[in-house]
């Protein structure tokens, strides 16, 4: 066990856990931030996507001891014009069905729009194909990302 001081959603938090505990379980079990989901545990499904220093990362595969001073942003704390545009587009399109994967989908979509303001379908394929959706809401995910990109132009 060790004490780790981590920065989550702009707040400094102290947690006592084993160093090999993945960031995902620290967020969920220790900090009660359950918007980040467990799907596979081996970085294959993307349900646990968070930002570390603004870049998307699979929280299930990052041991807390490797986080260091990295600033963590979860779905509960994601903000900024891209996040607003993406989340509004998600609601306007009624993207979610079961909704379980959508935190991860949204984090990946926000990350994409921060990199590429006007993504093509190919850009979307490359940025989102690590986020699985068993309900296959992919048609609306794609449409919502294009909607968000248009909203950001205005």
């Amino acid at each position: 066990m060790g004490t780790f001081i981590i920065d989550v959603n702009g707040t400094s938090r102290s947690v006592d856990v084993d160093g090999d505990t993945p960031l995902l379980w620290v967020l969920r079990d220790n900090l009660g931030l359950t918007g980040t989901k467990f799907g596979c545990g081996i970085a294959l499904c993307g349900a646990c996507t968070v930002f570390v220093d603004g870049r998307p990362l699979r929280a299930c595969s990052l041991p807390i001891s490797a986080l260091g001073s990295g600033k963590v942003t979860t779905i509960e704390g994601v903000s900024g014009t891209e996040a607003v545009a993406v989340q509004d587009a998600w609601v306007a399109r009624d993207v979610p069905q079961c909704g379980y994967c959508q935190s991860g989908q949204i984090m990946s979509a926000v990350a994409l729009l921060k990199e590429i303001r006007k993504p093509t379908d190919r850009d979307i394929d490359l940025a989102l194909n690590g986020n699985l959706c068993r309900c296959a809401t992919y048609v609306r995910i794609r449409a919502a990302i294009h909607d968000a990109a248009r909203a950001l132009e205005d």
Binding site: D20, L33, G99, Y100, A136
Partner: protein, 748 residues
């Protein structure tokens, strides 16, 4: 006018003891209407607060299909409630919430695409009765006839424009008797039904605030990880280092878990070869945090035996299937005319094809998990992603020896289910763990445990034979389907009994009740029992049977040299509703026009008949295959449906899009193989799901209909694979008769 119930007046809280509100929307949200306003229960479905908030009851779990929006939408319309003031709560505990699909006892459960079909009328009657009570309360207040009053968006309005709000009227209305035959709205009066109303859960699900089973947190709760015997008939022989593991930080207990009598281990539905219960087939470590539990479990040295069926393997299953297709023994489900004689007499001109599909796993993205609290007073409380409330209560009651009504079930949002979370094995395991440690426990299966210990969709193999008449249309057809019978394994009372044996309609769904003109027709089934836990999965047997059937119809059309669409059209010409969807999809896809040389197409049709003949939904699909970079990919899918009246076109189209994507995964990837008595696959690297780059465009065509709402959640899946197979045959000359389709088949 008969009063059907006396309604409890609830002060201060909308949550009665019997119908419990689960805070599924926002963690730590209040369970009572805001401001402590009194809520008055007008019916089993409607609570109106003096603050004007209308709380609508939802008895059908939200698994993604949209029940959370669509069923309240029906209530609100018939009630004339103000949709902006509506809240939804999940309820259990009343007979009004129970339904039956076929001939079983009514139970609270979601499945079989039945929620809207079954509840459409029931909810309308309940809400109309509530509306009439509100009108009567206003009429009494004003001392006028009820005929002088009308309702609009949460108000009763009198002849001269005077208004009383539902909130003001609720205390009086709650004391009035309810009509059992209230006057329902005409279709032209609908304000919400038929409209693409936005989902009520989209914002919560787009901000991480929606609460799924895995997110539940109960005071004093511990966390558990579980490992089950790799072989389905296996059990624990020994645990080598329990004392050492118990010393690890945060670890509270190592608990042996008894095999759970669910799914195909139900008494009476049990295959004779499964060993008798009880046996301990799983072990869990209970710790403060899940990661501590998982790491401790990983280090726990457990020896399992493989039990009586440790030699189960895919190789053996394949042999069993093929011999069943060729054997003497089969049960006839349909026998019209003289098919056997014709096929025998014209043996030289028989067209024959064989098909096979494997067992597959549900793989909801939220792995199965549950939170349980077994209390000293003999009551049990569980929270989680649970698709069938009553079955869960009964299974827990049986497993830990309490009365079913001592079990309270709190249903959260379900992170996918597709039939998986009807079976409460994982909930019972959590209850066992809680009982052992005397504290609430959340038990989460890892992806590996979720996959390997799914209740799988059964396998199937088909052998289809036909002789054509002089015009090239079927003279005689013989279809035989073999596989592990779902009903035989899980629900023997649903089998159809004949003098020569029982048959399972789910094995031949879409064949035995098919729509084509066939003068001589024999359908047979052969059950090949296996010790594999199986259960219903979205679209059930139709994914297999319709793949066999429509692929075979394509084969016959090719032999006849007739266009695939026109061939089907000819054979369906006595069925106007079938023709309508077929024509619609042909028109939308431009079937009759010449298409570009890099595109290839396939067409398929199915009428999905609901369990017990409860509904009929007509579906036709055209798949467009495109050659890109040396490969063929499914570019676009046209899907025409006649689902009866559509309550919410928005959620219906979502089911078309998602259903096509779900069927893509099944057609391209899904296969569970078996060795040493258990499943081989474990996570998404060997059991992949469709990714966004492979998702085709979807063009939905929803036909207007005067029929009542028909089932929809499962119906678009089955025709996709045969339509893809037909398009691949056009493009490459390769016949696809095994699912999942080999990747090499798409090389150009």
């Amino acid at each position: 006018m008969q009063p059907i119930s006396r309604r409890l007046v609830l002060a201060g809280s909308a949550a009665g003891a019997a119908s419990f509100l689960v805070p599924v929307i926002v963690r730590s949200s209040p369970t009572a209407p805001p401001g402590g306003a009194a809520g008055y229960e007008i019916t089993d479905w409607i609570v109106i607060a003096t603050s004007e908030e209308v709380t609508l009851s939802l008895s059908q779990p939200e698994v993604g299909q949209g029940s959370y929006t669509v069923l309240p939408q029906i209530l609100a319309d018939e009630l004339d409630a103000d949709w902006q003031r509506v809240k939804v709560r999940f309820v259990t505990g009343k007979d009004a919430y129970k339904i039956a699909f076929k001939n079983e006892a009514p139970a609270q459960k979601e499945g079989a695409s039945m929620s809207t079909t079954v509840f459409y009328k029931r909810l309308r009657v309940a809400a109309a009765a509530a509306r009439e009570a509100l009108v009567r309360a206003a009429a009494e207040r004003w001392d006028v006839a009820v005929s002088q009053c009308r309702t609009e968006k949460g108000f009763v309005i009198g002849a001269s424009g005077e208004r009383l709000s539902y909130g003001e009227l609720a205390p009086a209305a709650a004391r009035l008797p309810l009509s059992t035959k209230p006057r329902l709205k005409e279709q032209s009066q609908f304000a919400l039904i038929g409209k693409p109303v936005p989902r009520l859960d989209s914002r919560a699900k787009s901000t991480g605030r929606a609460v799924f089973g895995i997110d539940v947190a109960i005071p004093g709760m511990l966390n558990a990880a579980i490992r089950m015997a790799p072989s389905f008939t296996g059990a624990i022989v020994a645990i080598r280092n329990e004392a050492e593991i118990l010393k690890r930080p945060g670890v509270h207990a190592v608990v042996r878990i008894a095999a759970v009598a669910v799914a195909n281990e139900e008494p009476g539905s049990q295959h004779p070869k499964i060993t008798s219960l009880p046996r301990h087939n799983g072990v869990c470590v209970v710790a403060d945090h899940f990661w501590q539990a998982k790491r401790a479990l990983d280090a726990l040295l457990v020896e399992f035996d493989s039990g009586t069926q440790g030699d189960l393997s895919t190789a053996k299953i394949d042999v069993l299937l093929q011999s069943a297709l060729d054997g003497e023994t089969a049960v006839a489900a349909v026998n019209i005319g003289t098919p056997k004689e014709i096929l025998r007499d014209k043996a030289g001109s028989v067209i024959e094809r064989r098909f096979v599909l494997p067992h597959i796993a549900h793989a909801p993205l939220e792995p199965v998990n549950a939170t349980a609290s077994y209390k000293e007073d003999g009551t049990v409380e569980v929270w989680g992603s649970i698709q069938a409330v009553t079955a869960c209560q009964e299974a827990i009651a049986k497993a830990v020896g309490v009365a079913a009504d001592a079990v309270t079930v709190h249903v959260t949002f379900l992170g996918g289910s597709f039939g998986r979370k009807i079976v409460p094995d994982y909930v019972v395991q959590a209850v066992q763990a809680s009982k052992a440690v005397g504290r609430p426990v959340k038990l989460i299966r890892t992806r590996e445990q979720d996959t390997q210990h799914d209740v799988f969709r059964p396998n199937a193999a088909g052998r289809l034979r036909a002789v054509l008449d002089e015009q090239g249309y079927p003279l005689a057809v013989h279809a035989r389907v073999a596989g592990q019978s779902l009903f035989g394994a899980t629900r023997k009372s649903w089998l159809d009994q004949t003098p020569e044996g029982a048959w399972d309609e789910s094995m031949v769904d879409g064949i035995y009740n098919q729509s084509y003109r066939l003068p001589n027709f024999l359908v047979e089934t052969v059950d090949t029992p296996l010790p594999i836990p199986v259960y219903f999965m979205r679209s059930v047997g139709s994914t297999a049977a319709v793949f066999f059937w429509e692929s075979f119809i394509s084969e016959l059309a090719s032999h006849a040299g007739v266009d695939q669409y026109l061939y089907r059209r000819n054979l369906l010409n006595a069925d106007p509703l079938a023709l309508r969807v077929l024509d619609a999809v042909a028109q939308a896809s431009g079937w009759a026009t010449t298409w570009a040389s890099h595109l290839f197409r396939g067409i398929a049709y199915n009428c999905y008949v609901g369990r017990g003949g409860r509904f009929k939904t007509y579906v036709a699909e055209v798949v467009e295959l495109e050659r890109v970079d040396g490969r063929f990919r499914v570019k676009r899918v046209f899907c025409a449906v006649d689902p009866g009246l559509v309550v919410n076109p928005n959620t219906l189209v979502a089911q078309i899009e998602g259903g096509i994507g779900f069927a893509m995964t099944t057609a391209l990837y899904s296969r569970i193989t078996f060795s040493n008595g258990g499943a081989d696959q474990s996570n998404f690297f060997d059991y992949p799901l469709l990714t966004i780059d492979k998702m085709p465009e979807v063009v939905p065509v929803v036909l207007p209909s005067d029929r009542a709402p028909q089932g929809f959640g499962e119906v678009v899946l089955a025709p996709l694979a045969p339509a893809i197979a037909q398009a691949v045959l056009q493009a490459t000359g390769r016949r696809l008769d095994v699912m999942p389709f080999p990747d090499a088949a798409f090389a150009s």
